[in-house]
Amino acid sequence: MLAVAYAFPDVLVFACAALLILVGAIGVIAMKNPVHSALSLIMCLLGVALTFLAQRADFLAAAEIIVYAGAIVVLFLFVIMFLGVDKTQHPHVEPLVGQRWLAGVGVTVTVAGLITLMANSHWVSGVLSVSTGGTALAGGAGNITQLGDSVFTTYLLAFEATAGLLIIAVVGAVLLARRERPLDLDLDLDDEVEGEPSPAPDDDHGTMTPGDLVTDAATPREVSS
C-alpha cells in the first residue's frame, strides 16, 4: 500500500481526496446532527480542494477552502446554532412511503447512466484549450495569472454578473431575515450593508436565541407576529 503510494504519489493523493470526499459526503447525508453534517461537509470540501490541487488549480483550491469551508460552512453552522435546530430528526426514519427506495434507484441509475455516457465519449471529447490557445495550464502563480486573464476577457460579463448576483443575494437575505413587520417593510440597510444577514429574534416561540443579541436596540419596535 505504502509502496504503491510511494511509487504513484498521485494515486495516493487521489485516494486521500476520494476518501475525504466520499466519507465527507456520506457524512453530510447520514449524520443526525446538522452540526456534524456541516463538519462532514468541511471534510468533503477539503477533499475537493485536494483534487483541485492535484489538477493544477491551485488558486481554486485556496478559494475552495476560504470561500466554502471558511465562509459558507461557517454560515451554515451559524444558522444552525442561531436557530437552535431540532436534533429530533431521525434520518433513518422515512415518513414518505417509497421515497428512499425511489431516490436510491433513481439516483443510482442516473449516476450510472451518466458515467456510462461519459465513458462513451472516452471521458472528454472537446477540443483542447479553446481559451488559452493551446498553452498548458500553469500551476502556482501562473495559474492565478491565467485565471485573471480569463476572468477579465472571456468571462468578463459573467464576472460582472456575479456582482449583480451577490447584490441581489444580499438584499434578499436582508429582506428575508428581518423580523415580521407586515405593514412596514422598508429597508434599513444602514447597519446591514455588509451583506451578512441580520437574523432577528424569533419571538413567536419565545426561545432565547443568539439573534436577540444583535437586535437593533436603537430602533425599538413593537413586536408583532
Binding site: 414518505l96 421515497q99 434507484v105 433513481g106 447512466g113 456510462t116 455516457l117
Partner: protein
C-alpha cells in the same frame, strides 16, 4: 287537349285553395257546393278529354306543363299523359268523387270540421288525378303520396278518438312501407334507363336485364300491396274504417286503394319482362282475395265486412294483373268502384239512420224502414255476389276466365273466393235488412228514417251504374269494349290463350253456381241467427291474428330495440363513452393531484426520475 287535361287537375285544386285560404269566411253550404261543383267540373273536363282522345289517332297525348326537377341527368317534368288508361281512371274517379261529394254534403252536415272535410276531399281528388294523369313515375309518386296523406287526414278525421288517430297513422305508415317499394323501383329504373317518364321507360325496356326487371316488379308489387291493401300490408284498410263513411266509400273502396293496381297496370311493359314477377303478383292477389274473404265472413262491423270485401276484390284485380289480364283488372276496378261505393254509401245511410251504429248484430229488419237504401243496397249485394246480369258478374267472370287460362290452382282459389264473397255479403245483407229488428236499443226506440234526397241520389245513380256496368266490356262485344279501348296502353300483353265459347260458357256457369252456393249458405245459416261461433272462428274474427303477428314480430322487437338504443346504446355506450372519457379525465386529474402532495422531496424525486428516464433513453441511444 293541352287545355283540357290540366283543367281536370286544376278544378279540384282551385276548390282546395279557395277553401284553404278563405275557409273561415265561407258558409258550410257554399263550401259543400263548391267542393262538389269543382269535382263535377273536373268530371266534365274528363269527358271532354275522352272525346278528344277518341278523335286522336295516336290515343296518347303528352301535356308538358313545366320542369319540376332537373339535375344532371335527372329530368322530371310536370307533364300529363292522356291516354285511354288515364282517361278511364279520370272518368270514374271524378264521377264517383262527384257523387260522394254530393252525398257528403248531407252526411257530414253538422260536423265541426265540415269545411276541413271538403278541403281534404278536394285535395284528395286532386292528388288522385295527379297520380293518374302523371306522365312520369315521380309525378305519380306525388299523387301517390298525396292520396296517402289525405287518407291519413280523413281516417283520423275524428282525431279526438284515439282509435281514429291511430288508424290514420297506421294507414299512412303501411302505405309508407309500400312507398319505399315504389322509391326503390324508381331508383332501379332510373339507374338503368336514366329516365323516369313512362314513355321513356317503355322505350328503353331493353336496357333492363331480367333480374333487374324482376326486382323492379317486386318493388312495384310492394308498392301496390301497400296502397292497395294486399298481403302483407292489407290490415290498415279495416282500421281505416274509422274515417267517415263517405271517405271509406271514396278512398278506401273506389279510388285510392286501386292506385296500386293502376300502377301495376301502368307499368305493364315492365311487368312483361318478368314472368316470375308476374307470378308473384298473381299469387299475392289470389291469396289476398281468399284470405280477406275468409276474414270478411267473421266480422261483426258492417264497414269492416265491406273493408275486407274491398281487400278481397282488389285481390282479384291484382290477380288479374298477375296473369296479364290488364283490361280485366281495370274493368273490375271500374265496376267495383260502382258497386263498392254503392255498398259503402248504402251502409253509410244505414249507419246514419241508426245514429252511428255499425254493429250488424244491432241491426236487422231495416228493409221496410229504408225504402230507397234497401233496393239500392240489394243491387249492390247482388252485383258483388256475382249474380248475372249485374256488372260484378261480368267483371269477375272476365278475371276468372283469364286466370283459368293461366293457372288452374289460382282459378280454383278465385272460385272459392267467389263462393265466400257471395256468402259473406249475403250474411251482411241478411243481418242488416232481414230478420228481427234489433236496433231499438240503439235508436232509443225511435224508428230509423231514410236519409235525405241528397244522400239517396248518389245511391240511385250508383245502383244504375252497377246494373249497367257490365255493358262496358261484354265478352262478345269485341271492338267496342273497355278492353279494346285500353289495349293500346298496354303495348305488349302476354298472349291470352283464346278460349272456346264452350269453355267460356262453362266458366260462367261455374261463376253463377259459386254465387248461388254462397247465397244459399248464407241464407241458411243467418236467417235466424245473429251470432254463430262455429261460422265465425276467432282466428278469422281476429284477422288471422295478423296484427298480433306484426306486433310480436316487428312492433314489439322494434320498440324494445328503440328502448335499448335509447337506454343502453345511446346513454351508456355512445354517450357513456363520451362522458366516460370526460370522467376519466377528471379522475386522472384528481389522481395526479394526489401526487402533488405538497411534499417537496417528492417533487424532487419526480424530477430525479424524470432525469433518470432521459438518461436511460440517451444511454440506449448511444449504444
Amino acid at each position: 287537349m293541352n287545355h283540357v287535361a290540366p283543367l281536370i287537375l286544376v278544378f279540384p285544386l282551385v276548390g282546395f285553395l279557395l277553401v284553404l285560404l278563405n275557409g273561415r269566411s265561407l258558409s258550410n253550404r257554399f263550401v259543400g257546393a263548391l267542393a262538389t261543383g269543382v269535382v263535377a267540373l273536373s268530371f266534365v273536363a274528363s269527358v271532354v278529354a275522352l272525346v278528344l282522345l277518341l278523335h286522336d289517332r295516336a290515343r296518347e297525348v303528352n301535356v308538358q306543363l313545366f320542369t319540376w326537377i332537373s339535375v344532371d341527368t335527372l329530368h322530371v317534368p310536370v307533364a300529363l299523359l292522356v291516354d285511354p288508361l288515364s282517361v278511364t281512371m279520370c272518368l270514374f274517379v271524378t264521377g264517383i268523387s262527384a257523387l260522394i261529394h254530393l252525398y257528403s254534403t248531407a252526411y257530414m252536415k253538422g260536423e265541426t270540421d265540415f269545411r276541413k272535410f271538403f278541403l281534404y276531399l278536394n285535395l284528395f281528388v286532386f292528388s288522385m288525378l295527379t297520380l293518374v294523369l302523371a306522365n312520369n313515375l315521380v309525378l305519380t309518386f306525388v299523387g301517390w303520396e298525396g292520396v296517402g296523406v289525405c287518407s291519413y287526414w280523413l281516417v283520423s278525421f275524428y282525431f279526438d278518438r284515439e282509435a281514429a288517430a291511430s288508424a290514420g297513422k297506421k294507414a299512412f305508415i303501411y302505405n309508407r312501407v309500400g312507398d319505399v317499394g315504389l322509391l326503390v323501383a324508381m331508383f332501379l329504373i332510373f339507374t338503368h334507363t336514366h329516365t323516369l317518364t313512362y314513355q321513356g321507360i317503355f322505350s328503353s325496356t331493353s336496357l333492363l336485364s331480367p333480374t333487374v326487371a324482376t326486382l323492379i316488379v317486386l318493388a312495384l308489387l310492394l308498392a301496390a300491396t301497400g296502397k292497395s291493401a294486399q298481403i302483407p300490408l292489407f290490415n290498415w284498410l279495416p282500421d281505416a274504417m274509422e274515417g267517415p263513411t263517405p271517405v271509406s266509400a271514396l278512398i278506401h273502396a273506389a279510388t285510392m286503394v286501386t292506385a296500386g293496381v293502376y300502377l301495376l297496370v301502368r307499368m305493364s311493359p315492365v311487368l312483361a319482362l318478368s314472368s316470375s314477377g308476374r307470378m308473384s303478383i298473381a299469387v299475392i292477389g289470389g291469396v289476398t282475395a281468399f284470405v280477406a274473404a275468409t276474414i270478411a265472413c267473421a266480422q261483426k262491423d258492417i264497414k269492416k265486412v265491406l273493408a275486407f270485401s274491398t281487400v278481397s276484390q282488389i285481390g282479384y284485380m291484382v290477380l288479374a294483373v298477375g296473369v296479364g289480364a290488364y283490361g280485366a283488372a281495370i274493368f273490375l276496378m271500374v265496376s267495383h268502384a260502382f258497386f263498392k261505393a254503392l255498398l259503402f254509401l248504402g251502409s253509410g245511410s244505414v249507419i246514419h239512420s241508426l245514429g252511428g251504429e255499425q254493429d250488424m248484430r244491432k241491426m236487422g229488419g231495416l228493409a221496410k224502414w229504408l225504402p230507397l237504401t234497401f233496393p239500392t243496397f240489394l243491387i249492390g249485394w247482388l252485383t258483388i255476389s256475382g249474380v248475372p246480369p249485374f256488372a260484378g258478374f261480368w267483371s269477375k267472370g272476365d278475371v276468372l276466365t283469364n286466370v283459368f287460362a293461366h293457372d288452374k290452382v289460382l282459378w280454383a282459389l278465385g272460385v272459392v273466393t267467389a263462393i265466400l264473397t257471395a256468402y259473406y255479403m249475403s250474411r251482411l245483407f241478411v243481418l242488416t235488412f232481414r230478420g228481427s229488428e234489433r236496433f231499438r236499443e240503439v235508436t232509443h226506440q225511435h224508428d230509423p228514417h231514410e236519409s235525405s234526397l241528397v244522400m239517396t241520389i248518389p245511391l240511385l245513380v250508383l245502383a244504375t251504374l252497377s246494373v249497367l256496368g257490365g255493358l262496358l266490356d261484354l265478352p262478345w262485344a269485341h271492338g267496342f269494349s273497355l278492353t279494346d279501348f285500353l289495349d293500346p296502353t298496354f303495348g305488349f300483353v302476354a298472349a291470352t290463350p283464346t278460349q272456346s265459347t264452350v269453355l267460356q260458357t262453362g266458366l260462367a256457369i261455374v261463376d253463377v253456381a259459386a254465387a248461388l252456393v254462397g247465397l244459399a249458405a248464407a241464407f241458411t245459416i243467418w236467417r235466424h241467427r245473429v251470432e254463430s261461433p262455429r261460422f265465425e272462428p276467432a282466428f278469422l274474427e281476429h284477422v288471422w291474428y295478423w296484427d298480433d303477428a306484426y306486433d310480436a314480430v316487428l312492433a314489439r322487437p322494434l320498440e324494445r330495440a328503440a328502448r335499448v338504443s335509447n337506454d343502453v346504446v345511446e346513454d351508456r355506450v355512445i354517450d357513456g363513452a363520451v362522458e366516460g372519457l370526460g370522467g376519466s379525465m377528471r379522475r386522472s386529474g384528481e389522481g395526479m393531484r394526489k401526487l402533488q402532495s405538497g411534499m417537496v422531496r417528492q417533487y424532487a424525486v419526480a424530477m430525479v426520475l424524470g432525469v433518470t428516464i432521459i438518461v436511460i433513453y440517451l444511454v440506449g441511444r448511444v449504444r
